[in-house]
Amino acid sequence: MDLIKKIKENPIIKKLGFNRIVLACVLVLMYLILSLMVDNFAGMPRIMSALNYVYFLGFLSLGVTFVIATGGIDFSIGPVMFCCALVSGYSLTSLGVPMLPSLILSLIVGLLFGMMNGYLVAYWKVPPFIVSMASMNIAKGVASVFTKTQSVSWPQAAKGGWFRSLVKVGKFPVGIIVFLVVAAICSIILNHTKAGRYILSLGSNREAVRLSGVDTKKWEMLAYAICGVLVGIAAIYFVGAYTTVQPGYGDQYNNEAIAGCVMGGTSMAGGLASIGGTVIGVFIIALLQEGILALGFTKDYQLIITGLIVIVAVYADVMARRRKN
């Protein structure tokens, strides 16, 4: 116990975060074990496949990190991501909108949903759980109506789908660079700007921040809006990797995105958030998904495991809090 305490007190480790280091070790360990258990797991195809998952899930997770930092929650991110991909994809393929405006449209749809959620939570005081449940259905409905319940396939690179070079160029995974850069920007927003300061503070003690003369509603809504834009980006990476989207789906990614976020040390009670932790958390989820498939299990097992991860991570956070009190 003393040794652990000593390690925790070390300034370098403190700076990086003890929990994040543990989490990174878990990630590496998982990778090593899977490589030993599964033939050729370490090979390029698997890595590329895992990265495809990392991209869209990563942006979702980054987004929801802002919302959870305020003490809120957003269960609409998965379906909203699908809605973004469907609305912009349908505009591109069936309405003749050019590529760039279509991509921007995806961000705008995400932003609008984020702003709607944020407005209802911050100004109308509707509980985030209810708001996001409702907007999840709205997102599915809007997508179905807009596309007349048809699936949308985004064009291949050869047929004008230049957006795919945001994901990879040849064998080079451009997406990972974009993801890490966006994550770095998120981290700066959270830790070095007014917005981040107030988002975290109001997540910790909303009344105290409000009574300091801060417009807490505005900043709370902003957190949801940021989340929305990131969901719009996630949509682009989803179709960049998987090409086709179908209306009526997307729920399963909520849980995975939230799992990545809380595993990384962001507290469901609000006030504490770690972008670095979220990034590692996302890698773990993606690796898990790849590992489960490689070991010959179905996707269903992954649902079970991510569900358990959320429960364990939140329980750990609750216990840590209780000990502090």
Binding site: H192, K194, R197, S201, S204, N205, R210, L211, G213, V214
Partner: protein, 498 residues
């Protein structure tokens, strides 16, 4: 007096930054009223919370009815017969009196709750206590005094052997206090052991058999009430602290400009037609009983709660304040009575809390200038002598007095000219209390204007230049410090209550 029923031996308890209890011993006998006295922050409440299992002790032992015990939570203590009547009443307002008394152990008829039986049992209980309350009345319709009687009835219905009263008279009128004492005497006759926490000296002489005094978390001594004088007790309580005499003269010239004028302010039942003026450099005391509407008035002025009507003038200019944001812009700062909930963000550092209201001045482009932030926070830590290893310390790790200084720093950092201190020394230990007083005087001397809400008479008399007294949501009087006596304040504070 009977044998000792409950004994606490060498109880020790530490919180981050505070040694709350330092080897404290205490006992109470059957059929005795034992007063536990000491200044705010002396550790009385903490000791009782350790006893009832709300806090776990670090060391020491508790012997109850001859056996060593350790209660894990109020429920266990209650089941054993140790109950506490809290200072803040724990009642559910929209339930009836009987429903409140039997909450958590309702009588049942099959799966239905048997309200009739609960009403009968409650009536029996009241009869035993000689209290006249209708068990079917809705709790929120009762006066504070009546509600407390219900709380006592509830305690007794648990088959209590030891009853702890935590400052039971803080919110009561004279006649209600009389009734309470009658009940306490009855309980004593029934061989109940009673712990009576208070710092009203007169009550102690009237109602208690023994007095134990605590100071700064330490046990000072125990006296038999009959054999001791008021001065004996005061000397034990005060110890090294030299009390300043009440202020005798206002330091504020009569022609000092009015910086804040509140005109016919209305905000719900607790703020009815309140008007007053605050002058530059003045400390304006707000006195009254618990629930008199002082905090509500302050919150309405500050824009924390909505107003129904009324006007506010800051430096002679009519100012619309609909939110704390508006108030802060007008140069008003509010230090809440409940720091943890309304004052500080515990998961943030001292530096981050210090600039909370003034972050706009600590920006370099879109980024927070953390270097400047820390530098300014350090200056406030030094000038307010906040005890902390660094400004990067999380506020959660500070003691109450130092947390209060962080909140003060927040408003000084924003450079507010009007400061509303709501119970500025609640839960702060004695040494830090004096520092807060000195600081407030210094601020007033520098030309800041202060509204100080306080339930402590000594604090009101010592600090105020002028005193506004409220009762049940109305302003019942205004006194110049020169003509103020404790009696005058009490009369005004209870004027509307019968």
């Amino acid at each position: 007096m009977g044998e000792v029923i409950l004994q606490m031996i060498d109880i020790d308890k530490r919180f981050p930054g505070v040694h709350a209890l330092n080897k404290v011993s205490f006992d109470v006998k059957r059929g005795e009223v034992h007063a536990l006295m000491g200044e705010n922050g002396a550790g009385k409440s903490t000791l009782m919370k350790v006893l009832t299992g709300i806090y776990t002790k670090d060391s020491g032992s508790i012997v109850f009815e001859g056996k060593e015990v350790e209660f894990h939570g109020a429920r266990e203590a209650q089941d054993a017969g140790v109950v506490i009547v809290h200072q803040e009443l724990n009642m559910v307002g929209h339930l009836t009196v009987a429903q409140n008394i039997f909450i958590g152990r309702e009588f049942k008829k099959g799966i239905r709750i048997d309200d009739k039986k609960m009403n009968e049992e409650a009536a029996k209980l009241f009869e035993k206590l000689n209290i006249n309350i209708d068990p079917t009345a809705t709790m929120s319709d009762l006066t504070v005094g009546k509600q407390q009687m219900c709380e006592i009835a509830k305690a007794i219905s648990h088959d209590a052997k030891v009853i702890i009263f935590d400052e039971p008279t803080a919110a009561l009128t004279e006649s209600e206090i009389e009734d309470l004492f009658k009940i306490i005497r009855d309980l004593r006759k029934q061989q109940m052991a009673i712990v009576y926490i208070s710092h009203r000296m007169d009550e102690i002489k009237v109602i208690t058999d023994r007095v134990t005094v605590m100071r700064d978390g330490c046990y000072v001594g125990t006296l038999v009430t009959e054999e001791s004088t008021k001065d004996d007790i005061i000397n034990m309580m005060v110890g090294r602290i030299i009390y300043e005499e009440p202020k005798t003269k206002s330091r504020v010239p009569d022609d000092a400009p009015v910086v804040l004028r509140v005109d016919h302010l209305n905000a719900g039942r607790m703020v009815q037609d309140v008007s007053f003026e605050l002058r530059k450099g003045e400390i304006l005391g707000f006195s009254g009983l618990m629930g008199a509407g002082r905090t509500e008035t302050a919150r309405a002025i500050f824009g924390a709660d909505p107003k129904e009507s009324g006007e506010i003038f800051v430096n002679g200019k009519k100012t619309v304040i609909n939110s704390p944001e508006d108030a802060v812009k007008a140069g008003i700062g509010y230090l809440s009575e409940d720091r943890k909930r309304f004052g500080i963000v515990v998961q943030k550092t001292i530096a981050e809390n210090t600039t909370m209201a003034d972050l706009g001045n600590y920006m370099k482009g879109i980024f927070i200038d953390k270097k400047k932030e820390k530098k300014v926070a350090k200056e406030f830590v030094d000038s307010l002598s906040t005890k902390t290893p660094s400004v990067d310390q999380l506020v959660v790790n500070l003691s109450g007095g130092n947390q209060q200084k962080v909140v003060i720093a927040k408003w000084l950092c924003k450079n507010c000219d009007i400061l509303i201190f709501d119970e500025p020394t609640r839960g702060i230990d004695v040494g830090a209390k004096n520092e807060i007083y000195k600081l407030m005087n210094k601020l007033a001397a520098e030309g800041k204007s202060i509204i100080m809400i306080s339930s402590e008479m000594t604090e009101i008399l010592r600090m105020s230049d002028r005193i506004v007294v409220m009762c049940e949501g109305k302003k019942t009087g205004e006194l110049r410090i020169e003509d103020t006596t404790q009696e005058k304040i009490m009369n005004l504070a209870t004027r509307d209550i019968n």
